[in-house]
Each structure stands twice: as C-alpha cells, then as structure tokens.
C-alpha cells in the first residue's frame, strides 16, 4: 500500500468491520446460509445423512399424506386461533383494568407477568399436574360431590390441544398485557377527557376510539404471538409428549423427531421449510410495512 493513493474503501472503518464479523457471519452463514441449505436439502431424499440426491417435491407429497403431519397442522391451527384470540382479548382487558388508576397496580402486574419468567417446560409440568385426572382439578371437583364431573384434557385425544392452550395462555398473557398497557399509557389523556365530555360510555370509547388508535401496538403484538405459535414445542413435550397417541403433535415436534429420531432428514427439512413458509406469510407483509416504507427501524 503506497501512502500517496487514496485509502482503500475496504479499510475505511476497519475496526467497525472487524467488530461486526460475528454479526456478518451470523447473518450470512447461519440465517441466510442455514435457511437456504435446509430448503435445498428438503428436495432430496436424505435419510441418516444429508445427501444431494434430488427427488423433486417427493418429500412434500409424503409430508402432506402423513397423518401425523396433518394432525400437527390441525393442532397448530386450533392452538393458534385460541392463543391469538384469547391472549389478545385477555391481555387487553387486563391492561384496561390495570389502567383505571387502581391501587396495587404493581402487585397485580407482577402476579400476571410472573408465569412469563418460567420456562415452557416448567409451565407444562405444572399444568400436567393440575390437569391430572386422578389428583388434579377433576379429582377435587368429584370429591366435592359432583361425581360425574369430567375434566381430563390431557388424556382425551379430542380435547388435548385445549389443555395445552390453557397452559400456554397462563404463561403468555402477562406479556401481552404488558405490551397493551404500554400502548394504553401512550394514549393522550385529552382523548379520554374529550370522550367523557361528549358522554360516550367507557366501553364505546375503548372499542371505537382507543383500539383503533392502538393499531401499531396490536400489529406488533400480533406478530409476536404469531411467531411464538409456530415455535410451540417445549410445552407439548413437557405436558403430553405428543400424546395420547399422536393427538397433540405439533409441527416443531414433527421436525425434531424426524431429524433426530426417525433419521429421515428429508422429511424433517421439508416440514421445517413448511414452517418457514407459514412464518414468512405473516412476517413479510409486516416487515414491508415496518421497514420498507420509511427508512427506520
């Protein structure tokens, strides 16, 4: 390098570039590279080891004709709709209740949020115990004299996914409440005053004025819930291990089991690519709105 030349473009900000190497590697090798690799190998018939032996869409045909995958998708849809609707509604109602200038707000918030600090494994195991038909809620209610009472979601394959959703809601609504509360606090006090002066009842103010104003909060919350739904795995493993039978299987568990137990990598890759696709359907429009329109993050 002769000193008379202009400094090479590559060496400007050299330290910053060196410091960013882990970030660049993560972004390119793991996120882009890893994803592309998995998608590529989902078109092969890899079994125990990944091999580049292309079979077209075979893995996907197999995937969509496997009952276990279909059950997983159905469960994910039910679980998804339940968590979406209930966590939004409960989260918003709790936030609205806490926003009424009440006493002990911090205490209540601490109580509603603490399950979020616990792992899905702990959550799943606690609810497995509470829903145990021989000892848990069913047993207690029967002891009170209602002999025919039946509440055993974890042992009844037609409602097992609801049992899992109960645990998930217990764990996650606190977070939604916190986000909503932050959103409510961001609303100008004058809006409330104006609504009160006009004599609009409180529920109407919430429904027609406050909620539309909180659109950005709702969108962010929606994205958070949606991306969490697809990832659901540990909770099912802890609570039911996918049982009874295959009644509470979810896609994330399908991927893991095919990759590391069934030694059918191709199926695992195809299933994980489907998961990626479903997330992209939610994320891409959101990312476009968030990052595409204006240059801001």
């Amino acid at each position: 390098m002769s000193k008379s030349e202009r400094p090479n473009q590559l060496f400007r900000n050299l330290n910053a570039k060196i410091a960013s190497i882990p970030m660049i590697l993560t972004a390119l090798v793991v996120f882009v590279g890893g994803t592309a690799w998995t998608v590529l190998y989902s078109f092969t018939n890899s079994k125990l080891l990944p091999r580049l032996n292309f079979v077209g869409l075979d893995q996907y045909y197999r995937l969509w004709s496997t009952p276990r995958w279909l059950v997983s998708i159905e469960n994910l849809l039910i679980y998804g709709v339940l968590s979406l609707v209930f966590s939004l509604v409960i989260g918003f109602v709790l936030a609205a209740l806490l926003d009424q200038k009440i006493r002990f707000e911090d205490t209540f918030r601490t109580i509603f949020l603490y399950p979020f600090a616990l792992s899905f494994i702990v959550t799943g195991l606690v609810w497995q115990w509470l829903l145990n038909p021989d000892f848990g809620i069913q047993h207690v209610v029967r002891d009170l004299g209602w002999e025919s009472f039946s509440f055993d979601p974890l042992y009844n394959s037609s409602i097992v996914i609801y049992g899992i959703s109960i645990a998930a809601l217990w764990q996650g609504t606190g977070l939604i409440m916190c986000l909503m509360l932050a959103g409510l606090r961001g609303i100008d006090e004058d809006i409330w005053k104006a609504a009160r002066v006009d004599g609009i009842p409180m529920w109407k103010t919430y429904l027609f004025i406050i909620i539309p104003m909180m659109r950005p909060v709702f969108i962010t919350t929606l994205v958070i819930i949606a991306s969490g739904i697809v990832k659901v795995y540990d909770l099912v493993v802890a609570q039911t291990s996918g049982g009874p039978g295959i009644a509470s299987e979810v896609p994330a568990k399908y991927v893991y089991d095919y990759m590391f137990f069934a030694q059918n990598l191709g199926q695992g890759f195809a299933a994980s690519t489907m998961m990626l696709l479903s997330v992209m359907i939610v994320i891409v429009p959101w990312a476009y709105l968030e990052f595409g329109g204006k240059k801001r993050v």
Binding site: P22, A27, V122, H139, A252, S272
Partner: protein
C-alpha cells in the same frame, strides 16, 4: 346514594360543611370498584394457583398426596422431596438428581450471557456510530432472521459445530445461544447507543479516541442500565431454553430444563409427584428470582425485547 352518606368518614363530612369543593368524591366501595378489584383479584388468584399447588405438593409426603386434595395445605411439612429432587432423582442410569443439571445450566448460562452481550453490544455500537457500507443490510437480515423458526436452522448448525469439533460440548451450546441472542440484543444496543448525544461521540473523536477507546471508555460506562436489561433478558431466556439444550448437548451435559423433563416424564418407576414438583420449582427458581428482584427492569427488557417472540 343514601348509604354512601352514612359511611362517609368524619373528615369528609366536616369538609362538606364549608361547601362542596374539588372533584365529586368517589366512594371506595362503588359498584365499579367492586367489579374492578373483584375481577383483578379472581384473575390474580388464577395466576397464582399453579405456583401455590407446586409449593404445597412439594412439601407433602406421597401418602398424603394419594389421599388428599392438591389444593389443601400440607398436614405434615416435609423437605425430603426437595432433597431427593436435588441430589437423588434419577434420569436413566444416573441418580445424582437435578444438581448436575443445575451446574450444567450455570456453566452454559454464564458464558453465554457474557459472550452474547459482548458481541451484541459491539455490534450495536458499530451500527449506531460507525456505519459502514452494507451494515444496515446485515442488520435487517439479522432482525428478519429472528423470526425464522429455529427448526429451519438447527441441522445446518449441527453440521457447522461438528466441523469445528464442538458438537455436543458446552462451548458449542454457548455459541448457539450467542447466535440466537444476537438479533434482539443488537437491536436493543443499537437503539440505545443511537439515542445517546452525537456530540459526545464527536468530542471523543476529536480528542483522538478510536473505535475501541470510545466503546470502552465512554459508551460502556454510560450504558449500564441497558446492560442490566440485556443480562435479565439473557439469563431468563438461556436458563429456560429447552430445544437447543436437547439438540446440542449430550446426556451428561444436559441443562436443567432437559434433565427436569427427563425426570418428570420418565416412564420407569413409581411416579413421585412431590419430588417432581420440587424439581419443577427448583428449575423455575432462578428465573423467578431474577424476575422478582429486577421488577420494572424486567418489564422494560421484555417490552424492548418483545420482537423476539
């Protein structure tokens, strides 16, 4: 309205004599308040119930559990299930209890938290103050990558770790945690450093400080709060992780969550529900302590880190 006048405290009555002033007095037991606090208390009880049942069950003996009711307090308090869960509970052939998982989790969490925060804070600093061409592209990839289901990337990472000889070791898992903690932490630090006054950075530049000098002597000491938030976020996140633990470690290096699941959901032997619940509380204790000690900072952490999902 009539019963309201009766129960008014004397002080308020006295003030009424000098004519009404201030806002209309809200009665403490108005129908609105009963509804409000009633709902909140019922919901709070529902949220506390599992914790209560966990603690109560873990303090009972097995005979009492078989006969009794999960909600009733223990007649005879015993700490034996706790001792057993900590030092004797079995997973497979190992019968040294959860203590092994606990120490594994400590050996995973501490370096992961330090490494991930070190990397992410430097990233955030570079992105906020030393932008180079293309930096934002990598950043956007990183943020979008945070939403990719982990299942898509776990196998390629298995291959990478195997190639560099770290598959199955604790260091491998530490790297994985640092990678997946990067998006959210980088975002956190980038936003924080961007909000610091630009003049500070310029003044340091004029005085001849370089990239690392400014980072270590100015940015680091001034950003203690955000480091605390990051530590809270990472400690709870990494401690609670299950998927990476089960994929990237071997049975003797399993973190606590994985070992807990193996203990409780093992099919062999008689189920000891009190030991299981004690083990469950032990596993949840670290994040719970972090949560109760950190208070408002935890809320700030998750509000900032909510994008993680």
């Amino acid at each position: 309205m009539s019963d309201q006048a009766v129960s008014l405290p004397p002080a308020t009555i006295g003030r009424e004599a000098s004519g009404p002033s201030g806002p209309k007095p809200r009665h403490r037991f108005s129908r609105r308040n009963i509804f409000l606090y009633g709902t909140l208390i019922v919901v709070a009880l529902y949220y506390l119930l599992p914790l209560y049942v966990m603690v109560v069950t873990s303090l009972k003996g097995m005979p009492e559990i078989r006969l009794g009711n999960i909600f009733s307090p223990p007649l005879e308090i015993t700490f034996e299930p706790w001792v057993k869960a900590w030092s004797q509970a079995c997973t497979g052939l190992n019968c040294d209890g959860l203590s092994r998982g606990f120490w594994n989790s400590v050996r995973i969490t501490v370096p992961s938290v330090i490494l991930s925060i070190a990397i992410a804070s430097v990233n955030g600093y570079a992105l906020a103050n030393w932008r180079f061409k293309g930096a934002d592209t990598f950043f956007v990839i990183l943020i979008v990558g945070a939403f990719i289901p982990y299942q898509v990337m776990i196998y390629p990472i298995v291959i990478i770790l195997r190639e560099i000889g770290l598959y199955g070791s604790l260091s491998g898992l530490v790297i994985v945690h640092s990678i997946f903690g990067m998006p959210i932490l980088t975002l956190l630090f980038r936003n924080y450093f961007s909000s610091m006054p630009e003049e500070l950075f310029r003044a340091a530049r004029v005085d001849g400080a370089g990239f690392w000098g400014i980072y270590l002597r100015i940015m680091l000491p001034m950003s203690l709060p955000i480091f605390v938030v990051a530590v809270i976020l990472q400690v709870t996140g990494i401690w609670n992780d299950f998927l990476f633990g089960v994929v990237y470690t071997r049975p003797d290096t399993y973190p606590m969550t994985v070992q807990l699941n193996n203990i409780v959901n093992s099919v062999q032997g008689v189920k000891e529900y009190n030991v299981n619940m004690a083990a469950t509380i032990l596993t949840g204790l670290v994040p719970l302590i972090v949560y109760f000690l950190s208070g408002k900072l935890f809320v700030r952490g998750i509000a900032a880190g909510a994008v993680k999902g």
